[in-house]
């Protein structure tokens, strides 16, 4: 763990020079999405039967938080790995120290948690101000966001370390991340989708995260559903973590 913090330290130094560009994807864009959907589209929809009597803002804002957690993971667990290993080779320098492949995984996950926490805090503040969350739900919502980020980060780290060109990373962001962001029961209830796609959407970790955030925002759901959502995300995070460590050690270990 102490070694993983050294990776975080590197990220902080790096971030001090590059934060403007990553803030666009993980803060500016989510805030924009929240306002566009929660206010603009909310006004178009008004009261829809599909939403069961709640405002569209209350439906979509929790999903924007969960989606942003996924986005942070999809940003920080993909390109930086590829760049560090293939272009700037800073990862090679780290591997030459006691940090090693496992420390690299732990460090990136820690860093992803920090980034997720800050981005979620901004979005939580804005949506609480719009009346979506009460302040007392801050801790559970942050916890859910971290869990969503970790559920995606593990598998993405394992995928990214195997890439020899950046094309595979572009493809995963367009073919998986974007469709999930927009289609995994985030913009509209899964019941509005064709049955097959609705099952696919329910299988994504993002949908479970969005549902949990909705529960924190006051949507009523039975305790066992919440347990299933948390368990599903924990499974993705745990298996993803083990998978990432194994792949890093195989590819980069001595």
């Amino acid at each position: 763990m102490r070694l993983a913090w050294r990776v975080v330290e590197f990220q902080v130094y790096h971030y001090r020079r590059t934060w403007q560009s990553s803030v666009v994807g993980t803060v500016v864009f989510p805030v924009l999405a929240l306002l566009v959907l929660g206010i603009g589209v909310d006004r178009l929809i008004g009261a829809s039967d599909a939403l069961g009597g709640i405002r569209y803002l209350d439906f979509v804002a929790p999903a924007v938080l969960a989606g942003t957690a996924m986005q942070v993971a999809a940003t920080e667990a993909t390109m930086p790995i590829f760049v560090g290993l293939r272009l700037t080779r800073t990862a090679e320098a780290m591997l030459a120290t006691p940090i090693g492949p496992s420390g690299l995984v732990d460090g990136h996950l820690l860093w992803i948690c920090l980034r997720t926490a800050t981005a979620s805090l901004v979005l939580f503040g804005l949506s609480a101000w719009l009346g979506v969350f009460t302040i007392s739900t801050l801790v559970p919502v942050l916890g859910i966001c971290l869990l969503v980020a970790l559920a995606h980060a593990g598998p993405l780290l394992a995928y990214s370390v195997r890439q020899d060109t950046a094309y595979g990373l572009v493809a995963i962001s367009r073919l998986f991340v974007l469709p999930m962001m927009l289609g995994a029961g985030t913009l509209a209830p899964v019941d509005l989708m064709p049955p097959f796609l609705a099952y696919v959407a329910r299988a994504t970790p993002l949908w479970h995260g969005a549902q949990l955030c909705r529960a924190a925002a006051g949507a009523t759901m039975p305790a066992w559903t919440i347990a299933v959502h948390v368990g599903y995300l924990l499974a993705w995070a745990g298996i993803g973590y083990a998978f990432a460590r194994r792949t890093f050690n195989r590819r980069l270990g001595l």
């Binding site: 560009s21 666009v24 864009f29 924009l32 974007l178 927009l182």
Partner: protein, 267 residues
């Protein structure tokens, strides 16, 4: 014979064959990136099926210029304009930046007798090819969903190509001013708000007057107006302003790009 002045004079001319070589280079490079090409075609469809079809099931109808239309008919041309902008900006800004500053491909290109005009025309030609490749499945899907009539299909394709040239020319000009990847990412600060706010998802009539005025002078707004009025007859507006705006972008952007590429590479 081959003194620098002669070569420079030769290089200022435009030759279609040389521009075509620039296009050929891009085609060759992208043949190794089929996955990126394919995923670029799917991305716009994802927007159509989620922000279009899914939201349509909740929104119902929208009233624009006194005309009531179903939401999908309203939003589809807006999303076509917005996703075309994304494709073109990505192609012109990022790829030219990469070739100018990172891979330095153009240092090699300019060792041969190729002029700035050749490069700009060639890059725009390639951008048009990519746009057509991404817009065609989108327009076909629009026709399949019943929000583009048979007569409007060629018009929509024409409209996206006009948009692509205008955004492409400005994008190339912008790319020559960028020095780092981080600056390139800041281009998104301009592009993303336009994507969602220029009358793509909801009518601009809902904005406060000042915001509405600001939105109508952004470059995406004329594209949205153009494609919307050329689709299923939603909001029949006068498109001459839109066409003039996009024509101006093409001329100014293109001229700046040629001048900058010449000065950057012939110091």
């Amino acid at each position: 014979m081959d003194d620098a002045a002669t070569l420079a004079a030769l290089n200022r001319r435009f030759r279609l064959r040389r521009a075509w070589l620039i296009v050929r280079r891009n085609v060759l490079v992208f043949r190794t990136a089929r996955l990126a090409l394919l995923s670029g075609m799917i991305e716009p469809l994802v927007y159509l099926l989620t922000l279009g079809v899914l939201l349509d099931r909740m929104v119902g109808t929208v009233t624009v210029s006194g005309q009531t239309v179903d939401y999908l008919s309203y939003v589809a041309p807006g999303l076509l304009a917005a996703t075309t902008m994304t494709v073109v900006v990505n192609e012109s800004v990022s790829n030219l930046f990469y070739k100018l500053r990172i891979s330095r491909a153009y240092d090699a290109v300019l060792a041969a007798p190729v002029s700035g005009v050749d490069i700009v025309v060639g890059e725009l030609g390639w951008t048009l090819m990519r746009t057509a490749l991404c817009a065609a499945p989108f327009i076909a899907a629009m026709a399949g969903l019943g929000v583009a009539s048979r007569a409007s299909v060629p018009l929509l394709l024409l409209g996206t190509l006009i948009e692509a040239i205008a955004f492409g020319a400005v994008g190339l000009a912008v790319a020559t001013y960028l020095r780092t990847w981080q600056q390139r990412d800041l281009v998104q600060v301009v592009v993303l708000p336009m994507f969602y706010l220029c009358g793509t998802l909801f009518p601009v009539q809902g904005y406060p007057e000042a915001v509405r005025a600001l939105v109508t002078i952004t470059p995406l707004y004329p594209c949205v107006e153009l494609l919307r009025s050329w689709s299923v007859g939603v909001a029949q507006v006068d498109v001459s302003f839109s066409l003039a705006y996009l024509g101006l972008m093409t001329v100014v952007g293109g001229a700046v790009a040629v001048h900058r590429i010449e000065t950057l590479l012939r110091r």
